[in-house]
Amino acid sequence: MTTLVEIRDLRKTYQTGSVRFEALRGISLDVEEGDFAAIMGQSGSGKSTLLHITGGLDQPTAGSVRVGGTMLQAMSERELALFRRAQVGFVFQFFNLIENLNVRANVELPALLKGGQSRRDIHRRCSFLLERLGIADQANKYPWELSGGQQQRVAIARALINQPALLLADEPTGNLDSASGEEVLNILRQFNQQGQTILMVTHAASAAAQADYIFFIRDGLLVDQMPGGDEKAIAQRLADLR
């Protein structure tokens, strides 16, 4: 097994006016290729910050992040954009689709930006993903015509169109009813079984139970780690963190 994500002593300090706030205070963790890892913690504990930095959306104050062969610190805006485009896919709590593009255009967008593939191939991959996610019949609809669960599935398709090494999901079920949330988790699980590495932030024990292992974060520090599977044990551990 090779390590896909290697995070060492990661620190992030926000400066708002004269107020400094340490969101991450030295986190180190590894995610192996093919793993489905979850991150849990209280609201404000630094989970999203960690995910953003891992995906190259934000820069750390100190420490290092390696994803595949790429060292993320000290990269230019453009290099980070090219990295995100090729290596990672993002899924957010609020789907963040583009309103005036239809489903197919939203999904194909990262591939068209990336270039280097024929339109036919992109089209084919898009159709394949929509098929897998069960929304092939919605391809020509616009985001506002879809339910929340369907929109999140479009977002997953968009995240996977470029076959990224790493899929990052920030509370992907947080804005869905439990049935839709369940479906989305099943989908993530299925992709993981076919080899997709996933790092997911969640505060729901049921979601975290789907993961191979779970990192617990409190006040910007990694405080614990445990295997997934047992939802009750996870809920208990989360409660212990308080």
Partner: protein
């Protein structure tokens, strides 16, 4: 109320950049309007103003040498109609030399102190110093021969000795008619100096300028004076109204173009203010929803926005008004140069009133309608989507481009133009106006160039004019026919005539190689030489209510003169008398009048002709009186000022269009931050973001060209012809360089890119996490 004020201030400060840009736009619009109004008001009757300021004479009498007595002058001055007089004036006509040229001038005596009646206005240099041997020149000598203070005139004295006199100043004489007068240009000197040059006072000419109680009664007074003696003692006279129409003719082109531009500027002002204010208010509608959610009533919301624009528009109008006053000399230079009214910063309360009512009024009206729309919007919807209903589908052109394999940022950029159709339409209108302004400027300057290259279009079909004083018609014809480089010529005798109902006009009676001249016939055909057919100026047809095909009977020479009838077979562009002249065959008047010998000859020169050689041939000796004028010398240089003025105004419009693009891009960048965040998340690079924004602006720019070029041409054509009709000038054919129009495309793209680059860069630099967190 307090809450409303607080919100107004908070908004203005929070949106500092946008507020500043709107302020700038309103100021520019106010400046444009101020300029346009000042221009229009000052074109109105500048000659009258000048004439009044200089207490100009209404009637100037030039007496026949030796025929007039001092008692005649006293008798004329005591006529009941005459209110003031210049008193007897002395002059002497001779030729002067400078730079190898010889030109006849009338040397006129002026008193040491400025007189009460018909003062001169100093244009440059200084007035005469008492006791010095120096002269002033009229502005015609300056304009035609480029003389000025520091140059010298050489004069042959009565005793045969040559003296040189320094020119110390250039003056404007309100009674010198530079178009109709057969009088030579004027130079002014002291009586002592004239007496030392030409001591025999019996050779001096006498003239007299009169101010009349009724300035329109020139003709009646003239008849009374002529009736005083049985002998004809008046050689010629100058009617102040003729001088005025000559002066106005000189400014006619300028007037047509500038008033056309002024109307355009006013139109632009209205549209610009309306579009910019409405699109900004619409962009703030999301805010309106939030305001309503926290308890503002619809009227209070209205108050907030109208209040903001009231402040902005008042401040902007003050700034713009001052700027307009400052820039006013620019377009007015044309008029003041041709009319010789020295420029004073004009302060017209009407200008101020109109500007201060119109600009804030239009601004507030636009703000009111737009925010009333906003106030009606459903609160939830306003918060969610920001008022203007977003177009939630992709634009067909974007889909076509995408399928054709265009780069994604380009596709998205084109698509964005249609996300907020109303804002895009408003911005597009603005940019279109800018394009129209440039097209207008180009079309004007193109037209001016065509008219300059082909003066026949203006009725100037000849290359040079020769006038004679003492020489006989025969001698003049003989010399002209033999002169080197003269290809053809025709002679003209100007006949005074009146219609049966007493309207006065002048007849050009012509004879010679007419077919060699490229007369520009607007309608009908040229007359048959020798027949009683005539060509009429457009102004004449309008004035008398005639058309081609009608016949016209005129009384020639005097009230009881012979009558003759002509059939009007064509219409031509007549450059003089506002087009109110008739051109006929000289043979049709010859049997009716005693003296019909031409005194003016119009020449067509071969391309290789040497004007200096012709001049030397025509007047080999000093006292020869054949006066040769090349037409190049007489095309008004005011045209140059005009072009400068028009391009300055077009520049303001372009500036406004650029600011507008900037505002539009800024607003859309502010609104699109979240989308930009998403696009960057999925891998759009900063340059691709910039490219996307620039594409939107450029696309709009190209649409504006597509709309603005034809609209600009149509507008130019209609405005120019409207103005030309007013002045009896006839149809103007608008021409514009193809290359210039083509250059408009890259230029507009450049303006669009420049206007959208800063907001685009700002959007490209956005901190993704920050915008994605703002849910």
């Amino acid at each position: 109320m307090h809450a409303i004020w607080q919100k107004i201030w908070a908004d203005l400060l929070h949106r500092r950049l946008v507020s500043l840009l709107i302020l700038g736009t309103i100021a520019a619009a106010a400046a444009l309007l101020t300029l346009a109004l000042i221009t229009l008001f000052n074109l109105e009757a500048p000659y009258d103003k000048s004439h009044a300021e200089l207490n100009g004479a209404h009637l100037w009498l030039h007496f026949k040498p030796g025929r007039v007595r001092a008692m005649d002058i006293r008798q004329i001055e005591s006529l009941p109609q005459v209110t003031e007089s210049t008193g007897r004036q002395f002059s002497y006509t001779t030729s002067v030399r400078f730079n190898q040229q010889r030109v006849p001038v009338s040397l006129r005596v002026i008193p040491p102190e400025p007189p009460r009646v018909n003062r001169l206005r100093l244009l440059s240099g200084r007035l005469l110093n008492p006791g010095e041997d120096e002269v002033l020149i009229s502005r015609d000598l300056r304009d035609i021969y480029h003389l000025g203070p520091g140059d010298q005139l050489e004069i042959l004295r009565a005793d045969g000795r040559r003296v040189t006199l320094p020119i110390v100043g250039v003056v404007y004489d309100p009674m010198y008619d530079n178009y109709r007068s057969s009088l030579p240009p004027y130079a002014y000197l002291s009586e002592d100096l004239l007496a030392s040059l030409f001591p025999d006072k019996s050779t001096w000419e006498w003239s007299l300028g009169l101010r009349l109680a009724d300035p329109e009664a020139v003709q009646t007074v003239l008849e009374q004076i002529e009736a005083m003696r049985t002998v004809t003692f008046i050689a010629s006279h100058t009617d102040w109204r003729d001088v005025r129409s000559s002066a106005i003719f000189d400014a006619q082109m300028a007037f047509i173009f500038l008033s056309a531009f002024s109307f355009f500027a006013i139109l632009a002002t209205v549209l610009i203010v309306v579009s910019i204010v409405s699109s900004t208010v619409l962009a703030q509608i999301k805010q309106i929803g939030i305001l309503k959610a926290v308890g503002f009533t619809g009227q209070q919301v209205l108050g907030v926005y109208v209040g903001q624009y009231a402040l902005l528009s008042l401040l902007g109008t003050i700034l713009g008004f001052l700027l307009g006053l400052g820039l006013a000399p620019l377009p007015l230079k044309t008029v003041t140069a041709s009319l010789n009214t020295a420029y004073r910063p004009p302060f017209n309360p009407w200008t101020m009133l109109i500007v201060f009512v119109a600009v804030p009024g239009i601004t507030m009206l636009a703000a009111m309608t737009a925010s009333a729309r906003g106030a009606r919007v459903n609160t939830i919807q306003a918060i969610a989507v920001g008022g203007e209903t977003l177009l939630k589908k992709s634009f067909w052109l974007a889909r076509v481009l995408e399928r054709a394999g265009a780069p994604m940022p380009l596709v998205l950029g084109v698509n964005d133009v249609f996300v907020k159709p109303l804002r895009s339409i408003l911005a597009g209108i603005n940019l279109t106006l800018g394009v129209m302004g440039v097209v207008f400027g180009l079309a004007l300057s193109g037209t001016i160039r065509v008219y300059r290259q082909n003066p026949a279009l203006l009725g100037l079909v000849y290359d040079a004019i020769v006038t004679r004083e003492q020489s006989s018609d025969d001698r003049a014809r003989r010399l002209i026919a033999q002169a080197p480089g003269v290809e053809a010529f025709y002679g003209e005798y100007l006949v005074e005539a009146q219609t049966l109902d007493g309207r006065l006009l002048k007849l050009r009676a012509v004879e010679g190689d007419m077919e060699a001249f490229p007369f520009h016939i607007l309608e009908g055909r040229f007359f048959q030489p020798g027949s009683s057919e005539a060509l009429a100026g457009k102004g004449l047809l309008d004035w008398l209510g005639l058309k081609v095909g009608d016949s016209l009977t005129l009384v020639l020479d005097k009230d009881d003169g012979p009558q003759a009838t002509w059939v009007i077979v064509g219409e031509y562009p007549e450059p003089a008398d506002a087009g109110q002249r008739l051109m006929v065959s000289l043979s049709s008047v010859r049997p009716l009048l005693k003296h019909t010998d031409p005194s003016t000859y119009y020449l067509k020169l071969s391309p290789s002709a040497d004007p200096q050689a012709i001049r030397a041939f025509l007047s080999p000796r000093r006292e020869s009186d054949l006066n040769f004028t090349l037409m190049e010398d007489v095309i008004p240089s005011t045209v140059i000022y005009l072009q400068v003025a028009i391009f300055a105004l077009a520049g303001i419009l372009i500036g406004i269009a650029m600011v507008n693009i900037l505002i539009m891009s800024l607003l859309s960048a502010q609104e699109k931050l979240r989308v930009v965040g998403i696009l960057k998340t999925v891998g759009m690079t900063p340059w691709q973001v910039i490219f996307m924004f620039i594409t939107s602006a450029s696309f709009l720019g190209m649409l504006s060209i597509a709309a603005g070029v034809p609209a600009g041409l149509v507008l130019t054509r209609n405005l120019l012809n409207l103005m030309a009709d007013f002045t009896g000038f006839g149809q103007i054919s608008v021409s514009v360089g193809k290359a210039a129009l083509l250059a408009l495309l890259p230029f507009t793209l450049f303006v669009s890119v420049l206007g959208s680059f800063l907001p685009a860069r700002w959007a490209a630099k956005v901190y993704i996490v920050h915008v994605l967190r703002k849910e």
